[in-house]
């Protein structure tokens, strides 16, 4: 695939005298296994590393969710098969302290070690250079370092599960003062803090790289309005990451110092041994200043990708490209101003609650705009039901459902009733987790041909979609029903309360749906594994679309672009009536009357 690499290098160097930024990023193709597959500078290899690592963590996180649901569906019944090995002292029954650890680690793993590497690490790394016509990231070494710091952080997180006194058990939010060593002793939570801090460092490295790459390495002629919406999403995500991860890092570090060195940043005077005054609420502010944008960090690339995929497979340009990009930017700005709605029950000043309610509800304006633009894209299209399209449509559905139920939680009066109930759990899983996960799968199905030069099996993909999508919607809608009925989150056995006992049946159905969704993921793993070598071979452009990554051979060669392309068109020039008979116009092709010079 790169036999004439040397020639191309000289050729390209001559061409690129004008564009010195691109020139810096031609390094010789590595030959040894270590430099090619392990410590690789190549953004495509790093993307695959993030993908595999994210999927492994995703499996662990999903297994934990199955165990959580087992507790709620069958309280006091031993967990099948692996229960005996994990909890021999209780005969296989998940004990309450481990239940706390399970939901803590489930949340942490799914957000920071599964969704982040999938939707940001994999999609960002794979899509950015290919979509903007670059040979690699602007800082390839930083890119590699980002993965390996992340890898190390994952190892620490994994190790923290096996230390004495168990892993962290204070919820993924890690609120003091429960998170202090007086109430959660042992190394588990300290390691959790260190691992999360390192994961933050890794994401920050990635964010800086993504932002600089998108700004500096766009192919000549690629204006901001020629950028695929995927990259708009990743760009905004990276900005949010770069701005708010340091705030989280500060909070985690102070908490770690509190735990390890006996300071009292987050301890009240009445309960600290030294009698010095700190404030547990301060941590919540620090956490949610990061924590709310984090929701958008995980969902923005998904929005961008789905906007693109809907346009590609409806065979018409994205409806209201400009409005979508502006809406996503507006949401990114607003996301920083609404975090207070996570703290409505902490005795926040009513004046502040009113302000945060208003700001939160304002988000629905830009969200509504790009959501309706999605429907507009489908309107009068010619829709191809490919696997990426199925997952995108599924994402539109789950996000619509999740977005509308967010309104209940935005307003303070309904929030104080629903706070900490399963209504919240159902809502944020639909908006953030399910939507982002479906979009991640769409990304894998979409880029698989470019990664391996083969297609994934369509039938297996459809089975994977339906067996994931239907249970996912069922699970989280039912969670909202039990939440409204009053069931609060993080309870080992909700049936301790009389007013929750009638919810057992619904919880059991959720358990069944979770099992179906869990096992359906193995279809995907099998499909991925098998299609790498046995999938149907495809050409350079199996989806018949015009963005730059589909102008190069599949699998993508090491240097990506033989010549740095010059961009003349927007990303969605599909079914243009000015070029009758043509399905699409590649971004780097000049067509009189359509393209800009």
């Amino acid at each position: 695939m790169s036999d004439n690499n040397q020639d191309q290098t000289t050729e390209v160097k001559a061409y690129n005298k004008l564009y010195s930024n691109h020139d810096d990023h031609l390094h010789p193709e590595p030959t040894s296994i270590w430099t090619k597959y392990i410590f690789s500078f190549d953004h495509k290899v790093i993307a695959k590393q993030f993908l595999v690592y994210g999927l492994c963590w995703g499996f662990l996180g999903a297994l934990m969710s199955v165990m959580i649901r087992w507790c709620l569906a069958q309280p006091g019944v031993p967990f099948p098969i692996i229960g005996q090995f994990l909890f021999p002292h209780t005969g296989g029954v998940i004990p309450p302290d481990w239940y706390s650890s399970l939901f803590t680690m489930h949340g942490t793993i799914m957000i920071f070690f599964a969704l982040t590497p999938l939707i940001i690490g994999f999609l960002g790394n794979y899509a950015i250079p290919l979509m903007i016509g670059a040979r690699d990231m602007l800082f390839p070494w930083l890119n590699m370092a980002s993965f390996w710091v992340f890898f190390a952080s994952g190892l620490i997180m994994l190790y923290s599960i096996f230390v004495p006194m168990g892993p962290s058990s204070v919820g993924w939010t890690s609120y003091p003062t429960l998170a202090h060593s007086q109430w959660t002793p042992g190394p588990g939570h300290s390691l959790w803090l260190v691992a999360l801090f390192l994961a933050g460092v890794s994401s920050l490295m990635g964010a800086i790289n993504y932002i600089s790459t998108i700004i500096r390495l766009r192919a000549p002629g690629m204006r901001w309005r020629d950028l695929p919406l995927t990259l708009w999403g990743i760009f905004l995500t990276s900005i949010l990451n770069a701005l708010f991860l340091p705030v989280l890092a500060a909070g985690l570090l102070l908490l770690l110092i509190d735990r390890e060195f006996g300071t009292t940043f987050f301890l009240a005077a009445s309960i600290s041994e030294a009698g010095t005054q700190g404030d547990p609420i301060l941590y919540q502010h620090l956490f949610w200043i990061f924590g709310h944008p984090e929701v958008y960090i995980v969902i923005l690339p998904a929005w961008g990708l789905v906007s693109d995929l809907l346009s590609f497979f409806a065979r018409k340009p994205a409806f209201g490209y400009r409005a979508t990009a502006i809406s996503m930017s507006a949401i990114s700005v607003l996301s920083a101003l609404v975090y207070g709605h996570h703290m409505f029950t902490t005795g926040l000043s009513p004046l502040l609650t009113a302000a945060f309610t208003t700001l939160t509800l304002l988000i629905s304006i830009p969200s509504g705009i790009f959501f309706l633009n999605w429907l507009g894209t489908l309107w009068r299209g010619s829709i191809r039901f490919t696997n990426p399209m199925l997952f995108s449509l599924g994402m539109v559905f789950t996000f619509g459902l999740g977005g509308l139920t967010g309104l209940h939680l935005a307003a303070v009066s309904t929030n104080i009733m629903l706070h900490n109930t399963y209504f919240v759990v159902g809502h944020f899983h639909l908006t953030m987790a399910a939507s982002s996960l479906l979009a991640s799968y769409a990304a894998v199905y979409f880029y698989f041909p470019k990664m391996y030069g083969r297609m994934m099996n369509k039938r297996l993909g459809q089975a994977h979609f339906w067996l994931s999508f239907v249970p996912i919607v069922y699970i989280f809608v039912t969670m909202m029903i039990v939440g409204y009925a009053g069931m609060h989150r993080r309870t080992y056995n909700p049936y301790e309360y009389n007013y929750l006992q009638h919810l057992l049946a619904l919880n059991q159905y959720i358990g069944v749906a979770v099992a179906i969704a869990f096992f359906a993921q193995f279809i995907f793993v099998f499909n991925y594994w098998r299609s790498r070598h046995h999938g149907v071979k495809c050409g350079s452009n199996p989806w018949e679309i015009g963005t730059l990554e589909w102008t190069i051979p599949s699998p993508a060669p090491y240097y990506n672009f033989k010549e740095i392309p010059v961009v003349h068109n927007g990303p969605h020039e599909l079914s243009n009536p000015k070029t009758p008979g043509r399905l699409f116009i590649p971004q780097d092709e000049y067509v009189e009357g359509v393209s800009h010079s």
Binding site: G368, R380, G381, L407, H408, A411, E496
Partner: protein, 334 residues
Amino acid sequence: MMQMKTARRNTMKTKLIQFAIVLGMAFSLGMLAPGSGAQSALQTVVRTAIPEAHAQTEETYHQLDTTDGAQTHAVGKEANPNEYFWNRYAPPHSISTYGHRIDWLFKYTSWAAFVFFMIMVIALGYFIIKYRERPGHKAYYTHGKSTKSEKWAPKFLDLAVFVSLDLVLMGSSYLHTRDIMWNYPQGEDVVKVQIMPQQWAWNFRYAGKDGIFNTPDDITTINELRIPKGTPVLAQIKSKDVIHGFMAPNVRSQIDAIPGLITKFWFDATETGDFEIACYHLCGTAHYKMKAFMTVMEESDYEEWFVESSEWAQAAYDAEDPSVKWGWNWSINN
């Protein structure tokens, strides 16, 4: 060309599809209407589809029915399997003077969101079926700015959502803040309670006969909050160790208990009986067992209990025991 398109749009088939959509919307809306026939149909479907749920719920209900009266009351009527699906899974019935406002807002939001969700689903389904790729069908090239209606339709719909949902929520939240969250009851007859949760129990403290907190005649209870019906209760909450969350689902009010910071809330019960109080904020291993009962009594019964308990407390007071002095000075600024 234009004429052909217009002609196609008005075919019988298109009209049928439009009619089906309107019918579907009407049925979907009717399904949730209280007491409607469509709702009964849904209920039947649910019961047929998930018979175990029905049986199990009924069983639970009968078990509870045979235990003591207080528990049955705490469960409330919503566990009744003979009720509609949505009523069966409704939250415990409201017993506070402001609970119905929250319930109304929840229902309004759910309904309006449901309407918009149905519009979305119907549009999505319609587009998926009508605009699928097939021979002879070509996508319509537009960037969403080709006609005036393309340009304004999304904005108009977005505005409709904003006005019908967001503005109502904003308004209600403002009124809620003004009337309830920032409108604490005042006067002599307000029942004042100090609540101090700890891992994993609820401590309650009343000022006793002298009306001053942290004095020997204070009544203290564990996991049992007694209040009179029809009198506002103002509670100050402070945690002993980690953050806990006070929630009485029947009251519809939730407040965090934070170490080192006094938070407060109030409610006014309209019904006597025993109700459950739950810790809603993760507070450690036995968080799920951190339960208390709230007993709402007739005012005369409460007075009797109060006076008697205060005297008992005075008599049994042990000044040497530091654990009895956990209360704090009641101040209007707290």
